[in-house]
Symmetry: C2
Subunit: 97 residues, 2 copies
DNA sequence: TCGATAGTTTTAAAACTATCAAACAACGAT
DNA sequence: ATCGTTGTTTGATAGTTTTAAAACTATCGA
């Protein structure tokens, strides 16, 4: 299996793409406000989005390295990777408060 | 003329979209490094991009509020709107250094 | 094991984005 | 005036992104 080594700017592009959507920004803002992990279903219900659309957005955030997912029984819990935010966009999360 | 009032997240989406492209990130990085305005032609030549493509990217950055353009004779000089960066993405520019 | 619940994947349509050539507009110099 | 330079706009094309229905996988409880 070949793993492509991404340049700094490729990483940034990936992250900015992930954040350049209102639904995903709302997910990030919610997770930051609640200061705790939330289940996919809970988030999807609050934001009132189709579950496959929600799943697509969770995948986009996860693949950009912005969130982590933890499976518990039939649920999946999403939480923010604050270390990545702090490294690439220091101070950004605090502007959401 | 009607001016739409953008929400905070709409502004962020606009800015993240503008930054989610390698060419535009390179333009921003160059302007930040040089710490001075640069002409469109100079930037386009350094990055080796077609002039209409370059113009498209300048427009994208300008419309997101990230740059300002000043016309001098037949040239146009582009500079960073550091205040916008500092407000929406505090600390980001420094990560480019 | 069956049924319900929670998420993912596949697929397709619609909307959007990046690129380039060609035509255009604005300016300065001759 | 016309020419060369600098940058914008337009229109075409190729590729990407977002959305949602339908089919699928995994887990739990009865």
């Amino acid at each position: 299996m070949i793993i492509k080594q991404l340049s700094d700017n490729e990483i940034r592009v990936h992250i900015f793409k992930a954040l350049s959507d209102e639904v995903r920004l709302n997910i990030v803002a919610m997770l930051f406000e609640k200061k705790t992990e939330m289940s996919c279903g809970e988030i999807g219900e609050i934001l009132d989005i189709n579950k496959s659309t929600a799943s697509y957005h969770f995948k986009t955030l996860r693949e950009a390295g912005l969130t982590t997912t933890r499976k518990v029984g039939q649920n999946k819990f999403v939480s923010l990777n604050t270390a990545v935010f702090d490294k690439i966009l220091p101070g950004f999360l605090d502007t959401l408060a």
